[in-house]
């Protein structure tokens, strides 16, 4: 087996609130291999988002080590972290985070603006990613002209535009109704089936069962980390 994409060892992340120190992560060790589809679960405030921010190279740990796609975050500066995000990370947010001014195609192409080694046709790649999420017809629509599910698909297309080593999604279905959420989960499963590594945070047991590994958090620690043999493939009704 090749090197894991995420290798975290004794991760600690503390936040200082006045004179009290909150340990959002309190000794987390975790490896994620290529091709996995991991669900991260746990009650609110248990440290899920904090871990996602570290895996996404948006933050550095207080102590411990974490290596993402070969880059150790503890020793990287902000430019190196940005380069790592540009090269290896795709983010999907609960609130979509699309730029309202830009049509879908430009939203999808936007990350390539910051990809230093990229020289190709950004629009063509963006078109390809939009068609992968089933929105080829909507490329000139503004976010406000799209439904919630469609907006999240655009956001997923954007996360895929740099061929990320790892696709991160923090409660990607949290802002969607359950039917639309199921179609988004199916999309993630399809991407994973094609080899894409996916890590997602969810509150929904059903969504978690759609993944092939479930990691449970409580108070900044991993309390359970298990393979899911019985993967649920949600049925999708017409239209998302």
């Amino acid at each position: 087996m090749s090197q894991p994409i995420v290798a975290a060892r004794d991760l600690r992340k503390e936040y200082r609130m006045g004179d009290t120190v909150v340990a959002a992560l309190d000794g987390v060790s975790l490896e994620i291999a290529r091709g996995e589809m991991v669900a991260i679960m746990g009650p609110s405030g248990s440290g899920k988002s904090t871990l996602m921010n570290l895996i996404g190279a948006l933050d550095v740990p207080t102590s411990g080590s974490i290596v993402i796609d070969g880059v150790a975050l503890e020793t990287a500066d902000s430019a190196a972290l940005a380069d790592l995000r540009s090269r290896a990370i795709g983010f999907v947010f609960q609130q979509f985070q699309l730029l309202a001014r830009l049509p879908a195609l430009d939203n999808v192409a936007m990350p390539l603006l910051y990809a230093r080694s990229f020289t190709g046709d950004a629009k063509a790649i963006a078109r390809d990613r939009l068609s992968r999420v089933g929105l080829a017809e909507r490329s000139h629509h503004l976010p406000t002209e799209l439904s919630g599910g469609q907006q999240q698909r655009v956001a997923i297309a954007r996360a895929l535009v740099n061929d990320p080593a790892i696709l991160l999604a923090d409660e990607p279905t949290g802002a969607l109704d359950s039917r639309t959420g199921r179609s988004i989960i199916r999309l993630f499963q399809d991407l994973n089936a094609a080899g894409q590594t996916v890590v997602m945070v969810t509150h929904d047991e059903g969504v978690a069962r759609a993944c092939n590994r479930i990691v449970r958090f409580r108070d900044g620690r991993i309390v359970e980390d298990a393979k899911n043999a019985d993967v649920w493939r949600p049925e999708i009704e017409e239209a998302a």
């Binding site: 430019a79 001014r101 603006l113 910051y114 740099n162």
Partner: protein, 408 residues
């Protein structure tokens, strides 16, 4: 991120807030507009003075009869100047190239029933040297014409046009104050001086002719003249010539060294230099005031950029999350600020040019827009954006992406 990509982003976000962008630019527009206009007016004034100096001839001093402080010449208040004074200055003051007596007055000239009122100069051939004139055709006066008050005249181009219909006037006769004069020469055109005076509207006759035939009469002393034009050898001896001429005239008119002189001795290029210096100071002052508008414009840009950074905190967080480095964010916002002020500067210049022409034609001022001024204001306005845009841009680039993404 490449600069062209940053420029496209900046243009996009300026377009997204058109009214706000234009209002923000207004400060820079007004600033550049006023600086360019002020400098152009100042530059025009300098050129005007320059032209006047050139028109007067170089290294010139004018000695004229004093008229006291008031407009009316008081009886016995000044000893009249004569051509003997001119000869004395020419021969006794060292450094003087020529000292030319001038008897000057208005005249009515008539040729073939055409009337033309113009200026008459009674003087010597040296006037050509003193005023840096030259002859387009014909000749100046002969010695016998000068001594005997010959009825001959050298005329300027305007007189040729008005009195002789533009035809070659040499050898033709006209009357000035009823005295028939034969044209023997034509002066090279000088054009208008910047005060709008036509320097070609002139008739030059021998001094004696003016004194005895054309402008005589009244209670004039024999040989009386209006002024003596003194041309020094070079500009280094100007001060000495002025001092020595003053001393000589005091001696000739028996005026003590501390008494007020009855004549005026003015060093014209000195006056012009003073005027130029005054203009420079005025221009600098006005430009400084105008630059305040530029600075205010810059502060406006800074203000709106800070607002924009705050409004777009989530956008900045998102861009960072997908790979923008702090330097990319800095570049994006700096470009936006620079573009705002650069566009403002360009609009300001575009408005300044017609404004300068309008001022030139309505106020009758000379306005000269120096091309370097245009280049400097373009660079300067872009610079304003960079300077005042730096703080907001740096603030944007230092945002924490996680917090920025959560901002609402």
């Amino acid at each position: 991120m490449r600069v062209d990509a940053a420029a496209r982003l900046a243009l996009g976000s300026l377009r997204a807030h058109k009214l706000r962008s234009i209002l923000t630019m207004l400060g820079v527009i007004i600033g550049v507009l006023s600086v360019v206009t002020m400098v152009s007016i100042g530059e025009g004034a300098k050129r005007q003075i320059d032209d006047q100096v050139r028109a007067l001839g170089s290294n010139i001093m004018i000695l004229s009869t004093g008229f006291g402080r008031g407009p009316v010449r008081q009886q016995g208040s000044g000893t009249p100047l004569t051509d003997r004074d001119a000869r004395a200055i020419a021969s006794q003051v060292s450094g003087v190239r020529v000292a030319v007596p001038v008897r000057q007055g208005g005249t009515q000239a008539v040729a073939d029933g055409v009337n033309w009122s113009t200026q008459l100069f009674g003087t010597t051939n040296d006037i050509i040297i003193a005023r840096d004139w030259s002859l387009a055709s014909g000749r100046m006066f002969t010695t016998s014409e000068e001594r005997g008050g010959g009825k001959v005249a050298v005329v300027g181009q305007t007189v040729v046009k008005e009195l002789f219909g533009g035809q070659d006037p040499i050898g033709r006769t006209f009357r000035a104050n009823r005295i028939p004069l034969t044209v023997i020469g034509v002066l090279t055109p000088k054009g208008q001086n910047m005060l709008g005076q036509d320097q070609d509207d002139i008739i030059v006759v021998p001094l004696k002719t003016a004194q005895s035939r054309l402008l005589g009469g009244g209670n004039r002393a024999p040989g009386e003249i209006n002024q003596i034009i003194i041309k020094a050898e070079n500009d280094r001896v100007m001060d000495a010539v002025q001092r020595d001429t003053d001393a000589l005239m005091r001696e000739r008119q028996r005026i003590g060294p501390d008494e007020p002189a009855s004549y005026n001795l003015r060093n014209l290029s000195e006056m012009m230099q003073l005027q130029t210096a005054t203009t420079n100071v005025m221009t600098a002052l006005l430009s400084a005031i105008a630059s305040v508008a530029l600075v205010v414009g810059g502060i406006g840009i800074m203000n709106i950029m800070l607002v924009s950074v705050t409004e777009r905190t989530r956008e900045i967080g998102l861009r960072m999350a997908v790979g923008a480095r702090p330097a990319d964010v800095l570049l994006q916002f700096l470009t936006e600020a620079a573009m705002l002020s650069l566009l403002g500067g360009l609009i300001g210049i575009a408005l300044a040019v017609p404004l300068c022409f309008a001022i030139a034609s309505f106020a009758g001022w000379t306005v000269a827009i120096p091309p370097t001024m245009i280049a400097v204001s373009v660079l300067f306005s872009a610079g304003i954006g960079l300077v005042f845009g730096f703080y907001p841009a740096r603030r944007a680039s230092r945002l924490n992406p996680i917090e920025a993404l959560r901002y609402d």
